[in-house]
């Protein structure tokens, strides 16, 4: 696929915004000061002003309804700069879930709040250490929810929780107030220095959606597709920084980029990154077009991007040598984010397994 003029403009302006207001140094600063909210508030505010928080919110609810390709372009730049915001949790997962399955009332209440940046929303799916939405443990009975969730992104700062749970033999999303009695939130800062939480629900009121099953499926698909774009952007940046290093670092009296062993690995990595990126954009576009194989494409894109990002992170650290192992140097942040982003909403093995199932084997 090729970007249209509007998408190209969006990409250019977001690239500038993220590089100016959400560089890697902000991630380091947030980590070092143990920031209580754990995200880059001035950047989030700038994204609100640029309309990016409402990128998936329909115009009638105050958003710009730019579609998943647009959200992917934002995520790509987030990946390149390791910018820390609730974009994925709120603007992608929250907006996609509510748009797809919210009642009129729920949409009217929450979608404008997402666009205006007045609410942070967190999606709670994983019951265990691995993402297994087909076998949910959390249950809703008689309108109350019980269970425990992990890797709830931005869970400790959320104004609304969207919780995946089973009721009868149906799995669906439910709206839960994080301040309700029976909700226990434990902030769990992850290896990539980002926000997540473990949340316990003991008989907490759960508000059903108009179509909670569609909300869950749509949110997971949108989230995986956008994560594929973020991971591709991250891989590209890690690769480009490494390529730059190969052209400046000297050993044995010459540039290490003259060594064929490193040249060929760099060439392979560049191809992998390009393929990851091309597939991510194609999958996002397939979702926007409502293509028949959009689910397959998204699973493939997430699996590919997770593997390539991790490869890029590993190669980046290895090719930087000793300095790549130091905390002072930024390259390690890319490896950490590759691992955490790859795990989120299903790792490469999970996505490949689901992909195979959809392909009929």
């Amino acid at each position: 696929m090729k970007l249209n003029d509007e998408q190209q403009m969006l990409q250019d302006s977001v690239a500038r915004l993220m590089a100016d207001k959400g560089p890697v140094s902000h991630l380091r600063q947030l980590r070092d000061e143990h920031h209580d909210k754990g995200y880059d508030e001035p950047l989030w505010q700038a994204m609100v002003e640029a309309g990016l928080t409402g990128i998936l919110v329909p115009e009638e609810h105050g958003g710009i309804g730019f579609g998943l390709v647009g959200a992917g372009l934002v995520a790509r730049e987030i990946g390149r700069n390791l910018s820390v915001t609730p974009f994925l949790s709120t603007a992608v997962l929250g907006a996609a879930a509510l748009s797809a399955g919210g009642s009129d009332e729920q949409k009217a209440k929450w979608l404008p709040a997402i666009a205006e940046g007045t609410a942070i929303i967190a999606l709670a799916v994983d019951d265990g250490a691995k993402h297994r939405p087909e076998r949910l443990q959390a249950r809703v009975e008689g309108g109350t929810l019980s269970g425990e969730k992990r890797l709830v992104l931005d869970g400790h700062v959320a104004d609304l929780l969207l919780v995946a749970a089973g009721e009868g033999d149906q799995a669906a999303l439910y709206l839960v107030d994080p301040k309700a009695d029976g909700v226990t939130v434990e902030r769990t800062v992850m290896a990539d220095s980002r926000n997540a939480a473990r949340i316990r629900f003991d008989g907490v009121p759960a508000e059903a959606m108009a179509d909670g099953a569609a909300a869950l499926a749509t949110a997971l698909r949108a989230g995986r597709a956008v994560l594929a774009a973020e991971l591709s952007g991250l891989a590209l940046e890690a690769f480009e920084r490494t390529l730059g290093y190969l052209k400046e670092r000297k050993q044995f009296g010459r540039l290490i980029g003259t060594f064929q062993a490193l040249q060929h690995r760099a060439a392979q990595l560049s191809g992998e990154v390009a393929m990851s990126e091309a597939l991510a954009m194609q999958a996002l576009d397939a979702c926007d077009r409502g293509a028949d194989d959009a689910d397959q494409q998204v699973l493939a894109a997430k699996a590919k991007a997770a593997r390539v990002a991790l490869l890029a992170g590993q190669e980046a650290v290895q090719m930087h040598g000793g300095i790549g192992m130091t905390d002072e140097f930024d390259i390690g942040f890319f490896l950490k984010r590759a691992r955490a982003g790859g795990e989120t909403l299903g790792d490469a093995n999970y996505c490949a397994d689901r992909f195979a199932a959809l392909r009929g084997y």
């Binding site: 696929m1 090729k2 390529l243 190969l246 052209k247 010459r254 540039l255 980029g257 003259t258 060594f259 064929q260 040249q263 060929h264 760099a266 060439a267 392979q268 560049s270 191809g271 390009a274 393929m275 990851s276 091309a278 597939l279 954009m281 194609q282 494409q297 493939a300 894109a301 699996a303 590919k304 093995n349 490949a352 397994d353 992909f355 195979a356 199932a357 392909r359 009929g360 084997y361």
Partner: protein
Amino acid sequence: MSDLEQFRAETRAWLEANCPEEMRQPLKSQAEHCWGGRKWQFQSEAQKVWMERMADKGWTAPQWPKEYGGGGLSQEEAEVLAEEMKRINARTPVSNFGFWMLGPALLKFGSEELKREHLPPICRGEIRWCQGYSEPNAGSDLASLQTRAEDKGDHFVVNGQKIWTSYADKADWIFCLVRTDPQATKHNGISFVLFDMESEGVSTRPIELISGESPFCETFFDDVKVDKHQVVGELNRGWDVAKYLLTHERNNIGGEPPGFLKGRALGPLAAEYVGTEHGKLADAGLRADIADLEIDHMAFQALVGKIRAEAEAGQGVGAQSAVLKYYGTELNKRRYELMMDALGSEGLEWDSERTQGGLFAREWLRSKGNSIEGGTSEVMLGIVSKRLLGLPDA
């Protein structure tokens, strides 16, 4: 109705009326491909009729100009034709090195005289071409080739040896890289010449491959006379033509596997042989490997689409062709490995009728050449690292 829709409707109707039923099914093996040429023995009346009808239409070379026997179709029309052919599983009517290699070179570098002489017989499937590039001491380092052409006034005399000449024993003419100026530096002093394989002094010897087949030959030239007007492009500038063609060749590797696996998905094939449990392939490792391959293939296709779109927008494919060549061939090798994993002992049968004489094992072995011919994977990675990534020379 737009012009393109009109074209689609007409094309569909013409194909329905003119493509013989026997030509509307995938090739069972590469042996069924129609190569054309003076020595070609049609395998069926349908194969002959199909080639002739398509040639009359100019659709054996859809995008070449009509005056040279082509179809004169635009890129969009050619895509429509390809889609409509695919829709009914129509086979390629005829193809050989004349179509995918010499033709594009002549169209770009050839004189008007050479175009008129050589392109129409290619389109009609009358002349089959082969390519004389590699030599025993010039493989990856192609530009060090030593076959020489001496200027004898009104003609050249060619002496030397080529190797890996595809189907030299079955081809009618050869396009050949020869050294015309031995004093010049390596890349200068090479010319791109054309001559008839029936010329006196040309001999060929097939090379048996690990697959047991012999698609390649050693080709020997002993005082072969070549007419001087048969030089494509400028004298001593043959490397430009060769480089263009190598790029063109690598571009054409779009990820669709040749042979048995063309149009066949590995999942269902594997299910047939290893069985299923609870709707999944009974071999979990193979299932994961197939999924990874299909995901990588999908990603590769997405990149091919992107590179082609950029090429159409005028950015050219250039060194990106090395990326396509590298990943396209490496994927194909993986695909054939997984096919062999799936087929088990049946894939290993070497001469049974059941396997059409060991088709599976032979195609598996043949695929190993994909990442050697047309530039090895290592040469491709070298091109990517230097020309695309700008990494310095040692």
